[in-house]
């Protein structure tokens, strides 16, 4: 197997550099410091080059980010997104002609309300991150998750994408940029003096109520993901950013792929885990860190002191079986220990996934899920999701018609979030897995009497 066979039982010499028997596979001179993939040992400098090069290569290969474009970086404070931030910083600062050429901004979502942090704890985390962001010189936005409650319903609409660029447009744009030396493109804005937005206590409570109404941790995590994404896309749209960079690493995406299948999101796999995700039309989600394993990111951050702030999540310190996401993560990481090519195999499989476009008309032809904005994968009249739903506020009388179960509940959560008209038939608006998430939000005692009828 891919183990180090050397027996180190004898006395090891005390040396200034680690006494390793392997040399770097690339430069073959310096002692190896890290094992990447199966058996490839790199020294520190070669690893740094490899890491930096990969970032530029993935952006250059995909040709999605045009020179001078405004790109919003979604930074959670975790290792992958902070590493991404550092790569962008370094890439923009170099004088070489491989310099990155876009205009970045940073968005951070303060999710303290979701995990029950006190106001002081949240402010402390935000202050730490603010210091990190200010050091980069990019404009940044600190968004409390409570803002998702104020979003207009248009956030879940797919706006028409700008007209398709012809194939040669990227190269032409780059040539133009290089000729004019970038002077005609918008310069990076001065970071505005961003004060921490004040969050009303009532909003925090409402958000906690919303998340608390979800029974299972699996559904809660999915809902959080959705709300997070909506907030990011909305910010990108209002601030004029056309691209959104997410910091998901290879390991994370491998876990996400398997989790998505377990959650019934098979139809949306290509968009959830691919390099670019164009479900929102005018804002394109990009995942430049998808080639990096979690180990590479962690090692790079440690060696080159990339500042990151650990923010607890809803699944921190939970047991292995607390949620599907957690279980899958545990499964993949355990398998990875014994079979180091696990993550890369899953990743390579995800690369082969394509989005099946049903219709390509001028406007958006296909029906979209309300929550995840992907194409609906259910045939509405016959699916099980047909039977879950519509929650009107408890003051309204409930109506039952033969094709629609209408349930009354204490809190009309989705109406709260998305201001739907009272008579909307939600089942026609949700894809299979989002419907499952919503189903978890309906209080059990109201739902059960209807369940046995099915």
């Amino acid at each position: 197997m891919c183990q180090v066979e050397e027996d180190y039982r004898g006395e090891m010499e005390r040396a200034a550099v680690p006494s390793v028997s392997k040399k770097c596979v690339k430069c073959k001179e310096a002692p190896a410091a890290l094992v990447i993939r199966a058996g490839d040992a790199y020294c520190r400098l070669c690893f740094k080059d490899f890491f930096t090069h990969k970032f530029k290569a993935v952006l250059g290969k995909n040709r999605i980010i045009f020179p001078g474009e405004k790109v919003l970086l979604a930074v959670s404070g975790g290792p992958s997104s902070c590493s991404m931030l550092r790569q962008v910083q370094e890439g923009l600062s170099q004088k070489a002609n491989k310099k990155l050429r876009f205009v970045p901004g940073i968005a951070f979502i303060d999710e303290g309300a979701a995990i029950g942090q006190s106001v002081e704890e949240r402010q402390r985390t935000v202050a730490e991150l603010q210091a990190v962001f200010e050091a980069t010189g990019f404009p940044f936005f600190i968004l409390p998750l409570e803002q998702v409650l104020d979003l207009p319903a248009s956030v879940v609409a797919t706006n028409p994408a700008p007209s398709e660029q012809p194939a040669g447009a990227y190269k032409a744009a780059v040539d133009r940029f290089v000729e004019t030396d970038g002077s005609s493109f918008p310069t990076p804005q001065e970071p505005k003096e961003t004060l921490l937005p004040h969050v009303q206590q009532s909003h925090t409570l409402m958000l906690q109520q919303l998340l608390g109404s979800v029974k299972t941790l699996t559904a809660r995590e999915e809902l959080l993901n959705t709300l997070r994404q909506h907030l990011l896309v909305h910010t990108a749209r209002t601030e004029g950013y056309r691209k959104l960079m997410l910091g998901d690493s290879c390991t994370r995406l491998a876990v996400k792929l398997l989790t998505s299948i377990s959650l019934g999101r098979g139809a949306q796999l290509a968009q959830d885990t691919g390099f670019s995700d164009s479900r929102y039309g005018d804002v394109i989600l990009v995942r430049p860190m998808r080639d990096y394993s979690a180990k590479e990111v962690a090692y790079y951050n440690h060696l080159f002191t990339v500042p990151c702030v650990v923010v607890p999540g809803v699944d921190t310190k939970t047991v292995e079986k607390a949620s599907i996401q957690r279980l899958t993560e545990s499964f993949v990481t355990k398998l990875q220990t014994d079979f180091p090519s696990t993550v890369s195999t899953i990743y390579r499989t995800s690369e082969k996934l394509q989005t099946a476009c049903r219709k390509r008309s001028g406007g958006d032809g296909c029906e979209r899920c309300l929550l995840c904005v992907c194409s609906l994968d259910t045939a509405v009249e016959t699916s099980f999701t047909f039977l879950l739903l519509c929650i009107v506020s408890s003051a309204e009388a409930s109506t039952v018609d033969s094709s629609l179960w209408v349930l009354t509940a204490e809190v009309s959560v989705l109406h709260l979030c998305y201001r739907l008209p009272e008579t909307t038939r939600l089942q026609s608006l949700l894809c299979y897995s989002c419907a499952l998430t919503v189903r978890d939000m309906v209080s059990g005692d109201v739902f059960d009497p209807f369940m046995h009828e099915l």
Binding site: E11, L34, P79, V310, K317
Partner: protein, 101 residues
């Protein structure tokens, strides 16, 4: 008899949450007849430093999958993993890769 050795421990990536949020620890391992190796270090950490939820840090003899171990800034896979014998003033870093992105 091996003399007692001083070791610098660091926890990152969320692993510090299991150690009261303290990232750096300077510890002295007591002297014993055989030299200290990483396997024994883990047992020692579990007994003396780990404040809660040992199953989130160690699994069996080794660290939980997903925790990266660096000895003097080098991957422990190159150093012999659990069998590496610790020297005085060694720097051992545990980084959890399971948290955040």
């Amino acid at each position: 008899m091996a003399a007692s050795i001083a070791i610098h421990l660091e926890f990152g990536g969320g692993a510090e949450l299991l150690f009261n949020g303290v990232k750096k620890h300077h510890v002295t391992l007591p002297s014993q007849s055989e030299p200290w190796d990483v396997k024994q270090l883990l047992v020692w950490i579990q007994r003396n430093l780990l404040k809660e939820r040992p199953e989130l840090f160690v699994q069996g003899d080794s660290v939980r999958p997903g925790i990266l171990v660096l000895i003097n800034d080098a991957d422990w896979e190159l150093m012999g993993e659990l069998d590496y014998q610790l020297q005085d003033q060694d720097n051992v870093v545990f980084i959890s890769t399971l948290h955040g992105g």
